[in-house]
Amino acid sequence: MTRLRGALGAFLLSTASFTSAAVAQDDAVTTFTLDNGMEVVVVEDNRAPVVQHMLWYRAGSADEPVGSSGVAHFLEHLLFKATDTLKDGEFSAIVAANGGRDNAFTSYDYTAYFQRVAADRLGLMMQMEADRMRNINFTDENVATERDVILEERNQRTDSNPRALFGEQMNAAQYLNHRYGVPIIGWRHEMETLDRDDALGFYDTYYYPNNAILVVSGDVDADEVRALAETHYGVIPANPDLPERIRSAEPPQTAERRLIYRDARVAQEYVSRSYLAPERDPGAQRAAAALTLLAEVLGGGQTSYMTEKLQFESQKAVFSGAFYRGVSLDDTTFDVVIVPAPGVSLEEAETAMDETLVQFLVDGVDAEQLDRIKYQLRASQIYARDDVDRIARRYGAALSVGLTVDDVQAWPDILQSITTDEIMAAARDVLDRNASVTGWLTRPDTSEVTQ
């Protein structure tokens, strides 16, 4: 039945234009809310007998208590230990014994758990994920061993990587008062003190159905998902005392910050700058859409403004680029970077980058380039239908930071409707040096020793 409907839909889609294709993509998405407040998103694709089951919690590192940095991620690790009914490690063993893969990830604003498995195993995945939402039961020994694991993870991801250490310092300088200045994995000295009470405190505050979003994608039927979700998740009571998600806000940023991170392991020096920037807000996404297009126009690829000026024309750079991530609960950043060509100092590179940014504000947006970018965005909606798991992740992340299903579905049209004037206005607003951090990643200055 499902397969037939898929085949008919396929025929209709193949003759559809871009506009109707976008509508069709939304048609594959069904959303509803369980009585206990848990939101559910279903993205159907019946081409292969596979399902991805994801549970997102609106709780990330920026929700941690002061002094326990890393506890959101630590708890994510501990959720693979025992529950009241499953032994230590049994969760993943059952997923594997069913041919599936499971994992989890933590960010500033969310923690998500997922399994990818044959479609007829969805009920089992829900049953186990619902179980560990409220019935986690790890030992003190688990806590001690897993703390060593996350410290090794920090060693691997951060302490072995000068670029990551530099990024950590950049973020810490960017945020004067907001938790985005603290690394997701945590500061080492605080990670070393994390204990059972820290983990359970975070768990008992946030791991409830009214703080979770279920996202299921693949060879499923929305009604079937609803029935399974009601059976497994619908019976878990909501937390009436779920705290409101209010974090310490940034004061006005009025002073440009500069830092130099020196590390003998640096192979390639570069200059990075981040500017405090607005994020996508529910019902108000135009500024973020303009910044998304600005990042593309300015430094998004081979034909971008920065690449043209810095790599092809002045040849001051081996690489340059601009980056913006709009899916965030609170203020995010707009970033630019320049990797200098051989013989070009960091100072010269920074000057060249700044001259390019100033000149961009004079030259404005190339209309043909913007048309190409918008065409690529329309095409990306077609390509996206080949990867529904990615569509699912997009919904999970957006809903975790307070955006709505309507916001997600309106986003492609908003991007198409953004004008060059809006992009330039966004550029003038965001490129504010007083709200910026400029960092140099470099090697130790050996000349200082002789001075």
Binding site: P49, G99, A118, A144, E152, T303
Partner: protein, 441 residues
């Protein structure tokens, strides 16, 4: 509580996950080019995967890195389009053309909309048949490659990889970095790049997979148009590599808090009758997510690492069994010792029936999950052709896994796993580990 237990039992008794329903057809173009095709008209685009056997291993030793640099230049201007015009044209078509190269093949992964397929294929054709290799593009991309090589020289994982390959494969192309060295890349000329192009891009080593909104007839015409002008032959393949590594330790001093270790020994060829037994064995030993013995012993029980893995690496010209782990300098010796013990335990004691059942269920159950996404399926089909597998292989592969017995796995474990021949390359400042002399192993 009861509900959970009952459902778990049911899940183990239930039939195996559905078989991948991938309908592959062989298409031979009017000009004689063979491709495997899966028609998938529900989304108006096509994924096309091309692979040229040999890849960067066809480099001459004195121009090491030429094929890698040449590959990077395929998107940097073709026919009458310079690099910037090429990039603008590609963006304007909303297509993607990815060129990549490795020790066994040069691959081209293309994705284009049905509505402008002809223009996209024309652009791809130009990049393969008429690349410009302009001097300014060569110099620009060369600098990007050199930047990468300088970074690799300070990356403990990359240092370990390069050191291990040199010891394992010696003077064979597998023994050196296919991206070249700072010296060899700096010395490459435009003539070297043109020669590199002629070595790799030829019809006698070409494999094609296509998935998407295209008919067999349309694909046939497309292939002749796209690839018909390629030369018939290129450079000879390099021939088998002797795996020369022996047991022991090699420590490379590098000032960093966490050591990275790459370890390995001889492996099993993909066409070996014992390959599936080895595949299942490795699943139990170190390939599993959280369930493998290495992960359980090194991470879950002792917290010595964030990740430890082993993997079979059956390349065209040499088969090895390798693994990787990273641990703090003061703990890596213990991690290495536990890994060596697990190697020995599997060799002498074999695996349990429960482990075998779980591993086979995973390996068979995970297989159909790979076949999602047009690009991924196109890539898998090209891989199958390069291994000489039959077109109906997907339907029969899980039977080969299911046929593996406990006896097979334990025999292969005893024959294959040689703890004394396992060599560890450790990059960092590991406490309690020192380089051994070759004959100490």
């Amino acid at each position: 509580m009861t509900r959970l237990a009952v459902a778990l039992i049911l899940s183990f008794l239930a039939s195996l996950p559905a078989r991948a329903e991938v309908q592959i057809q062989e298409v031979v173009s009017p000009g004689g080019i063979t491709a495997w095709l899966v028609q998938e008209p529900s989304i108006p685009f096509t994924a096309l995967e091309l692979r040229f056997r040999g890849g960067a291993s066809l480099d001459d030793p004195d121009t090491r890195g030429a094929i890698n640099l040449m590959t990077g230049l395929l998107e940097e201007g073709a026919a009458d389009l310079d690099a910037r015009a090429f990039a603008r044209t590609l963006e304007g078509l909303a297509a993607s053309l990815d060129y990549d190269v490795g020790p066994d093949s040069l691959s081209v992964s293309a994705r284009f909309l049905t509505e402008n397929r002809d223009e996209a294929v024309a652009l791809l054709r130009a990049s393969l048949i008429e690349p410009r290799f302009d001097q300014d593009a060569i110099d620009r991309v060369r600098e990007q490659v050199l930047t990468g090589l300088r970074s690799d020289a300070k990356d403990p994982g990359k240092i370990a990889r390069e050191t291990f390959n040199k010891m394992a494969f010696g003077d064979h192309p597998y023994g050196s970095n296919y991206r070249g060295t700072l010296e060899s890349v700096a010395a490459l000329t435009r003539d070297d790049i043109v020669a590199a192009h002629g070595k790799v891009l030829a019809r006698d080593r070409l494999y094609v997979g296509a998935v998407g909104d295209i008919t067999p007839d349309e694909l046939g015409v497309l292939l002749d148009n796209l690839l018909g002008a390629l030369p018939e032959t290129g450079a000879p393949q390099p021939g088998p590599a002797d795996v020369t590594i022996t047991g022991g330790y090699t420590v490379v001093d590098f000032n960093t808090p966490q050591s990275v270790a790459i370890f390995g020994q001889l492996g099993v060829e993909q066409d070996d009758p014992d390959f599936f037994a080895a595949r299942v064995l490795n699943q139990i030993l170190g390939a599993g997510g959280f369930e493998s013995r290495l992960m359980t012993e090194v991470r879950e029980k002792r917290g010595l690492t964030y990740g430890v893995y082993s993997f079979l690496l059956p390349r065209d010209h040499a088969a090895t069994l390798q693994g990787q782990v990273a641990s703090a300098n003061d703990r890596v010796a213990e991690a290495v010792s536990v890994i060596r013990d697990e190697w020995a335990r599997a060799a002498t004691e074999g695996v349990t029936p429960d482990e075998l059942t779980a591993a086979k269920t995973f390996v068979t159950g995970a297989y159909p999950l790979q076949f999602s996404g047009n690009g991924r399926i196109a890539g898998i089909m090209v891989g199958m052709q390069m291994l000489g597998l039959p077109i109906d292989y997907i339907a029969t592969r899980n039977e080969k896994v299911d046929a593996v017995t406990l006896e097979d796995v334990n025999r292969v474990a005893a024959e294959l796993l040689t703890p004394d021949a396992l060599h560890f390359v450790v990059v960092g400042q590991p406490e309690g580990l020192e380089t051994t002399e070759p004959n100490e192993g």
